[in-house]
């Protein structure tokens, strides 16, 4: 109990050693690269938008005890097969993007199912299995794109196919089709669609209950509907409408909005607590309000807002424009990861991940749960790859997917995750650190050694090295665990 009250600095440093090491490395490399923050930060935010989704797709298999899913490469392949077809059919814009997602999902579900089935044959070897499986799938992918497209399935499109008619070109330009399809969805549309979706959701929920003859809390439904309508109504106010009609959000505005929302949220919490405490009965346990924490949040929001007036920061903040829809998708996935863990299925996944024996004894279908986790991860990875591709704007047919697993996993680990434990926070932190290193290391290499190639090799080494280290540490812990236990018994014995 005393441990908690005494905050141990060394423990904190030790537990976060990976993150801290990379933090130092990033700062050092950024300084060495002699690049202004106005260059590094916007670049970083572009990369966060591109890569976060796919890194977040790694979390579910980690929780289900299947380790780092090197098989997400296969999800990326599913995405590329889908995007090839929609490009061939000439679908464009957000509609084209939606069609691509719709097409890639069943493919990814199927692939994920197969991968999950296979992984059930190699329990304990999923990681090496996934890696090799990625290479194996690479062979099949090349077979499909080089020989079957055009060779077996006749495709007539000189933009996509090699001159001989057999095989797909090395790069496919997405400029006229789905480039920025997701990034450029205006905020106004998002709010509008969100409003209708809320209404539909409320309606469906109520309808289900009516059909099942359960009581419906009409008052709550009405309150929610009205709240949604009010938010939607706000968009008809001219200045708001003008602000929302853009598709990118200035980082400055995002920070300001964030501060505002934090304050409003704390106020809401306070108000709700007041209301609940008035009609509290003994049965419900009302958690005491942590006023200190609330004040800290509000203060933090104020400080952050104040910081935006520092000229150097201001310059950076107005240089970055966030693609709203993409960031919303990333946020939604974070939310999904959290909500899933609070469902029956998620709890089963956690149980399976912690101990397959216990899960079996508790009547959980271990194999099925693992397959489902794999399907989730593969589908999310395929969506993540689509987000990546629409932002990049070109599809490198034979190269876009090859390093996906490698870099996503490295990023996750840099954020402090391990083979058995990964969270949204670690994923996002990892992306920031890893991609900062990615941006600045060639430049730092050039400044320090006179050759950018060294920096490039360095970042590749980092991505391999961090994975090797993490895997070795995990294996080390696993191998020495039984020993520790018996040692423990021995010492208890001696005492």
């Amino acid at each position: 109990m005393n441990k908690k009250s005494k905050f141990n600095v060394w423990d904190f440093l030790f537990q976060n050693k990976v993150v801290l090491m990379f933090l130092v490395l990033c700062i050092g490399a950024t300084i060495a690269s002699k690049q202004p923050l106005t260059f590094v930060i916007p670049e970083l935010f572009t990369r966060i938008a591109r890569n976060s989704f796919i890194v977040l797709s790694l979390i579910i298999p980690v929780i289900a005890g299947m380790g780092l899913n090197f098989g997400i490469v296969i999800g990326a392949m599913a995405a590329q097969v889908a995007i090839f077809f929609t490009t061939y059919w000439g679908l464009t814009g957000i509609g084209g993007f939606a069609a691509t997602v719709a097409l890639s999902t069943p493919i990814a579900v199927f692939f994920g199912f197969l991968v999950g089935k296979l992984f059930n044959y190699m329990k304990g070897n999923e990681m090496i299995g996934g890696l090799v499986l990625g290479y194996f799938a690479e062979g099949l992918y090349q077979l499909l794109f080089l020989f079957i497209f055009g060779g077996v399935i006749k495709l007539n499109n000189s933009d996509l196919m090699i001159a001989t008619g057999v095989g797909v070109k090395n790069t496919i330009d997405l400029k006229d089709t789905v480039k920025y399809a997701l990034d450029t969805v205006p905020m106004l549309t998002i709010v509008e669609v969100g409003f209708y979706l809320t209404l539909i959701g409320l309606g469906c929920s109520a309808a289900f209950k009516v059909v099942k003859k359960q009581a419906v809390d009409w008052k709550a439904v009405a309150v929610k509907a009205v709240a949604a309508a009010v938010v939607y109504g706000l968009t008809f106010i001219k200045p708001v409408e003008r602000f929302l009609s853009a598709d990118r959000l200035l980082l400055l505005s995002a920070v300001e909005l964030g501060c505002l929302l934090t304050v409003l949220w704390q106020a809401f919490l306070f108000a709700r607590w007041k209301m609940l405490s008035k009609r509290a009965d003994e049965d419900s346990i009302l958690e005491p309000l942590n006023t200190q924490k609330m004040i800290a949040y509000v203060a933090l929001a104020a400080v952050v807002y104040g910081l935006t007036y520092i000229p150097a920061l201001y310059k950076v903040l107005i240089a970055v424009k966030l693609p709203v829809m993409t960031y919303l998708c990333i946020g939604a996935l974070c939310g999904f990861n959290n909500i899933l863990m609070r469902t029956r299925l998620g709890q089963n996944m956690r149980t399976v991940g912690q101990s397959r024996t216990v899960a079996n004894a508790a009547g959980i279908n271990v194999d099925k749960t693992r397959v489902i986790a794999m399907i989730f991860s593969t589908v999310l990875a395929s969506w993540g790859q689509l987000i990546f591709l629409q932002n990049v704007g070109t599809l490198s047919t034979y190269g876009a997917h090859t390093q996906v697993g490698q870099f996503a996993i490295a990023a996750l680990l840099v954020g402090g995750a391990s083979v058995q434990n990964a969270t949204n926070k670690q994923a996002l932190l990892g992306i920031v650190l890893f991609h900062t290193l990615f941006i600045v290391s060639p430049l730092a290499g050039k400044e320090l050694f006179g050759d950018p190639a060294i920096g490039e090799y360095f970042r590749v080494f980092v991505s391999y090295g961090v994975i090797a280290m993490s895997l070795a540490m995990h294996a080390w812990k696993k191998a020495s665990k039984p020993k520790l236990e018996s040692d423990g018994e021995g010492s208890a014995e001696a005492a």
Partner: protein, 537 residues
Amino acid sequence: MEKAKETYVLKMDNIAKEYYGNRVLKGVNLHIRPGEIHALMGENGAGKSTLMNILFGMPVIHTTGGYEGTIEVNGSAVTIDTPLKAMELGIGMVHQEFMLIPGFSVTENIKVGREKSVPNLASRLFGPSMESLDFKAMRKDARKALKTIGLQIEEYVKVAGLPVGYMQFIEIARELDKTGIQILVFDEPTAVLTESEADRLLEAMRVISSQGIAIIFITHRLDEVMAVADSMTILRDGEFVARKEIKDTDVVEIAELMIGRKMEKLVDNDQEDLRAIDDSQIAVSLRDYRVNMPGEQVKGIDLDIKKGEIFGIGGLAGQGKLGIPNGIMGLYKAHGQVKINGQELNLAKLGDALDHKVAFVSEDRRGVGLLLDESIEQNIIFSAMQTNGKFLKKIGWMQLYDAAAGKSHAEEMVKTLDIRCTGIRQPAGALSGGNQQKVCLARALTLEPDILFVSEPTRGIDIGAKKLVLEYLAKLNREQGMTVIIVSSELMELRSVADRIGIVSDGKLACILKPDDSDADFGLAMSGAWKGGRKDA
């Protein structure tokens, strides 16, 4: 109380079970009244676990041809063919090894697999597995279950940091939380607990039974049975021996019933005993000897084994008898003083026992005793080659395997020990249990040891091979003067060949007995009635 009525919550009658032609249960009865604590006793291999497997409808029973006999729960006949069925009938089990997840909170562990949840929009679309968990209701249930057994811990703490004793209670709480629980089986629950924790557990058992839940208590410890049980059933060799009310019996009678009066002769001792055993010549001397072998801990033993005798080490499984030879051979970490023929053994140095001419035939034939994929020849010559440098020829600086010498020795051994095989090239894994044991013995003998440790020499081999192995051990002792130490769970076999028998209980030497001492003495020694105490003989 209302004995005249004799209502039983569980009645198992004439239960019989065969595994591949081997009858392990021969018409056993088990009758449990509601709310009583019923002890189920017997030696290892008496059939307790098979009986429990039948009660739980474990797959291992039904994939091997099912069982005979009838089971009644609350007076109506039932067939239990899956663990789920057992659960539905209100039969629960507290496992010996904890089925808990350290990273989960107490609540999550209690509700694992049976979480409470509320439907939401997603679950209506995709099925009940998407329902969100109702943590509040789950916490309430957990608190209720914990209250029942009187455990004062917060239900939201993680299991990881809790003491071992608490974990057992959480297991119990989980079983109690299952709806309609009527019978709870405790499988040697006190084996891993300290004394005070065990006392608390027994107290909790009384509380549970007072609420009308019957308890089947599987244990070896007589004192615990006397302390807490209302009645008991004793099994021996798959046979039903007796059902007794605790108040009508005493420790000595129970011990006798467990061991039984049957005394077959396993070995024909037609050879004249010409040995002159000198009490001052000590072959193996142990002082404060401790071995850290999981599941077979040795917790400080002092013992002298005389040169030229056959010494038996007996005791129930898990009490530590197997740890003794395994520690000496360096397979598990050992401490204390070990002297072989007066010379002290360096326990930290691997292979030091081998250098002191000690050989060992392991109880785990397939795991430790053999290279299953390698030939009989390889298995026989291996240790002697590595330890004594036999079967090697020098070419330049290299020491290569001398195939001719190895082959002739292996063939000789196959002939002497009558190992049934297609040839010395046959992989050891393809042999029958008895022949595998002979190969292990052959390897030990190739080392030409002074002292031979044989662990469970007859486990899993048929009666004919059993006799042959034991007779051969006796012959080695008589003819070559080899000191033989046999570690075995089968008292009968120890009593038929050994000169003296040490009984190990709870990691300590309970006493040293003579083969013709009374059954009650053996029974009491093995059941921990003389914990670390009485020494004579």
